[in-house]
């Protein structure tokens, strides 16, 4: 089979443009398929391409296009499942093909991030599958000259109900191609979990065979004829410029073909200044890179110590008040009890399993071709175009698989560097791979934050006042990526007296989206503090939270019923309140982010100074589940990642990151991994992604369980600051 066939659009015949309709995203759906398009090397065969996502070959093979990049979130399996569900074909007959980044917006957003893939794609994918299925049903009805209403589709065939006769899709392609496009607004789209046959079942990853046999699949697996390898050394102090370097020496080293300074644009999220070293292999180039002596011009000396000192000073100030409901001062005066506590979390790195990389080639024709493990090819293309003056239409991006993403690969730096180097070396393909040390020292970190909370309780132990001073990171007085917090955030709106204020520390460290940006950090603070307040009020932490979610003041900041149900089910699954015996504890936490509701109950046991997380009971309400395997994967993965993150921190000294590799950034390994039991509350609510919502409440659930088991309240990350190791 020729796999180089592009999705519909590249080979449209003239008629195809006559009848088009819109998908929900605004992308064009080609109404009349390019019937008659001959596939190269398969003369005489006719393939039906009813729309962007579907291709049916005359032998009945169904190909479904996956539009978004894959980095372990499972979209390459889950999205085609949606199309297959609505197209009424058997999953075993489906092949999935990864789309390149389209030259136009035909697919709508082709990016990974913000758990947006699922909500964005849901309508388009259902429309694509359903529209194609309806055309096939209409084609069969025409051929049989019976009303279409007497026919239905099942397992890749159309069945005429009264007579029981059936026709496989493959036999209907020619007729289907002559029919007018269905009216999208009249399509009946499946939306209820009870209607699904394939969706919601356990489906294995479409790339499993390749992964399990070591086939090339990832960005850094690309091998092209004559390809060179590159590294790009940046200033250890963020943003530094290279004044000079010992390039003559570097060029004498074995395997080195090129070495040059790049002025860059000065933007972190773009082409930073640096020194490129190119040669015949990673090993040779990395050896040479280690011998680089560069004179860097730097402009700051940010450090963890200076951030800490500024935060301590700002803690005594009022900061900027962003929201004030009721009268906070009066409420504290009348409160029966006041609880105060401060929470802190540090910067952390993404530490992607596959270091940043990108392969690029500038062709003689002027076309720039990139094999980019990117979460946002469009952003990379725009940036490269701006950096290099190459029109976007001349930049072609293959969306190659990513060895994890987590938000890091939404940045455009690595692709910008590879593209620039490709032009400098003149025509040969080149693969840029960052050494682990560069990956860790030039990340876009999750920023640190300090939270000072004060809660006022009435005589019944009800929280009536909540003051929150957030000290965060910014530049020129504005918060930087990942450092913001909405004044609408829960518990705002659930309290008569509420104040939220912030103070901003000037920061030259690059920051960026990090798996559920913001939420994955500050949830630890909120949910730990709520636990403290509940206990100070002499109330059960579950009952206290449910009470808080029972009433809103004005428009509720989240769906109170879905929130409460999620919490209740987690408590029920975990057997909340049961007696665990000595040294064991259960802890609870809840969060709402990216349209997803998540609650976890962690069960821990204290083994001396070390804690073992035995089990995590997780409940998620994200609407219907697309792929049960993928959904569980994301919950399990979030639990492990979040537990791991309670142990980690990145620190800075003299403007540079101190950690460089896994020996001082110790991610969780299998022996400390808890068992994860997950449950989904399924509903007709539109689905949302699961790559992020499960993450935030994991850390605080564990911290609260540690309190229950040991009496140690953890208010700072990493846990070892409180003398706790996992």
């Amino acid at each position: 089979m020729n796999t180089s066939i592009k999705p519909a659009g590249n080979k449209l015949d003239r008629r195809s443009f006559l009848k088009v309709s819109m998908l929900a995203s605004g992308a064009l759906m080609i109404g009349v398929g390019s019937y008659g398009t001959l596939l190269a090397g398969e003369a005489g065969q006719e393939t039906w391409i009813p729309n962007l996502y579907v291709r049916i070959d005359p032998d009945g093979k169904v190909t479904i296009i996956s539009k978004n990049p894959e980095g372990g979130q499972g979209v390459k399996t889950a999205f085609p499942m949606v199309v297959a569900e609505c197209l009424e074909v058997d999953w075993k007959d489906v092949r999935v093909e990864q789309a390149a980044l389209a030259v136009d917006d035909r697919y709508g957003r082709q990016a990974l991030g913000g758990s947006r893939g699922t909500p964005d794609g849901w309508n388009d994918l259902r429309i694509a599958g359903t529209a194609a299925k309806d055309l096939l049903v209409a084609a069969a009805a025409n051929e049989w000259t019976v009303p279409a209403s007497e026919c239905y589709a099942e397992s890749g065939a159309v069945v005429h109900k009264p007579s029981g006769k059936s026709k496989p899709y493959a036999s209907l392609l020619k007729t289907a191609a002559t029919l007018p496009a269905p009216d999208v607004s009249k399509l009946r789209l499946k939306s209820r979990p009870e209607e699904f046959k394939l969706l919601g079942t356990f489906v294995r990853g479409v790339d499993n065979q390749k992964i399990l046999t070591g086939k090339p699949l990832f960005g850094s697996d690309i091998r092209l004829d004559g390809m060179l390898y590159a590294m790009y050394q940046k200033s250890p102090v963020f943003g530094g410029k290279a004044r000079s370097a010992n390039l003559e020496h570097i060029l004498t080293l074995p395997g080195v073909t090129h070495a040059f300074i790049v002025a860059g644009t000065g933007e972190y999220n773009g082409l930073q200044p640096g020194v490129a070293v190119v040669g015949t292999g990673f090993w040779e180039v990395n050896n040479a890179r280690e011998q680089l002596e560069v004179d860097w011009e730097t402009t700051h000396a940010d450090s963890t110590a200076s951030f800490d000192a500024q935060a301590a000073k700002l803690a005594g100030e009022m900061g900027e008040v962003l929201r004030h409901d009721g009268d906070i001062d009066a409420a504290f005066k009348t409160a029966a009890k006041v609880v105060e506590a401060s929470y802190y979390y540090p910067f952390v790195a993404h530490a992607n399993m596959e270091p940043m990389n990108c392969t690029a080639q500038l062709h003689e024709s002027g076309k720039l071709e990139l094999w980019a493990p990117t979460q946002n090819g469009k952003a990379a293309r725009e940036k490269i175009s701006a950096n290099m003056g190459i029109p976007e239409s001349r930049i072609h991006i293959h969306q190659v698989r990513m060895g994890t993403a987590f938000g890091r690969r939404s940045r455009t730096d690595f692709a910008s560097e590879a593209a620039w180097i490709a032009r400098e070396i003149g025509g040969k393909p080149v693969q840029l791979v960052w050494a682990r040390e560069e990956d860790m020292r030039h990340d876009f970190y999750r920023p640190a934050g300090w939270h000072h909370f004060k809660a006022g309780l009435d005589d019944d132990g009800k929280m009536i006042a909540f003051d929150h001073h957030f000290i965060t990171m910014g530049k020129n007085g504005k918060t930087i990526s990942g450092a913001s917090l909405s004044p609408k955030h829960y518990p705002a709106g659930l309290m008569p007296n509420f104040r939220f204020r912030w103070s901003i520390i000037e920061c030259n460290v690059p920051t960026g989206p990090w798996r559920d940006p913001g939420h994955s950090a500050y949830c630890f603070a909120y949910q730990g503090f709520f636990d403290e307040v509940a206990i100070a009020a002499g109330r059960d932490p579950l009952e206290f939270r449910l009470d808080l979610l029972s009433k809103s003041y004005g428009k509720p900041p989240l769906d109170l019923v879905r929130s409460s149900n999620t919490l209740k089910l987690a408590a029920e699954k975990a057997g909340w309140g049961r007696d665990l015996g000595p040294n064991r504890g259960l802890g609870l936490a809840f969060h709402f982010s990216h349209r997803g509701y998540a609650a976890h109950v962690a069960q821990v046991v204290a083994e001396g100074a070390s804690i073992k997380v035995e089990k995590v009971f997780s409940v998620l309400d994200v609407g219907p589940i697309l792929n049960l395997s993928g959904a569980k994967h994301q919950v399990e993965g979030c639990v492990i990642d979040a537990l791991s993150t309670t142990q980690l921190e990145v620190t800075f000294e003299d403007g540079a990151t101190r950690q460089g590799n896994f020996q001082n950034y110790r991610l969780l390994k299998l022996d400390r991994a808890p068992d994860v039991k997950c449950h989904f509350i399924q509903s007709e609510n539109p689905p949302t992604g699961l790559g992020e919502p499960p993450f935030p409440p994991v850390g605080p659930a564990i911290a609260n369980a540690i309190f229950a088991a040991t009496g140690t309240r953890i208010r700072e990350l990493p846990f070892r600051r409180s003398g706790i190791t996992i």
Partner: protein, 159 residues
């Protein structure tokens, strides 16, 4: 620079690389066998694991030239059709998320089961804690190893 031969997945491969080049880079950049992955380069993650005479070995820390005469198995050499009990179990349980670490995980599991056909949780923890999975597939790795042990037992212990 010596020319030498390594036996990889049962086939002789001739190499002409510096004597300090780790096997990882000889595999990836000289032989274009990219199944073995790079992540840390300092022996901390296990992503680059291969089997050398059946023993899990970090190829980023093993010089290629030192492996002359040894049997090297990479993920490409396990079976091409996923019929090895470990590959089968890995697919059944659907272990991979991004998949980047999984070649190393699978080879570590193969070696474990060779030595201990019925490992308990403690043995799994011990054998598998050199391999990092950033996606957090640990829960499924445990499950898949137990399943692979069953498959292997059904096949008459020929793991």
């Amino acid at each position: 620079m010596p020319q030498f031969t390594l036996k990889i997945n049962g086939t002789d491969h001739s190499l002409d690389v510096p004597s300090d080049m780790p096997l990882l880079w000889a595999l990836r950049d000289k032989l274009n066998m990219t199944g073995t992955k790079y992540s840390c380069g300092i022996g901390q993650c296990g992503t680059c694991t291969v089997l050398v005479d059946g023993k899990p070995t970090k190829s980023c820390r093993s010089r290629a030239v030192n492996l002359i005469g040894k049997e090297i198995v990479t993920i490409e050499g396990l079976t091409a059709d996923c019929s090895h009990p470990v590959q089968k179990a890995w697919n059944e349980v659907d272990v991979p998320q991004c998949g980047y670490c999984q070649g190393g995980q699978i080879l570590a599991a193969v070696a474990l089961l060779e030595n201990n056909p019925k490992p308990d949780d403690a043995a799994i923890d011990e054998a598998m804690s050199d391999n990092l999975c950033r996606c957090g597939t640990y829960v499924r790795i445990r499950k898949a190893i137990k399943l692979a042990a069953e498959y292997a037992a059904d096949e008459g212990g020929a793991a």
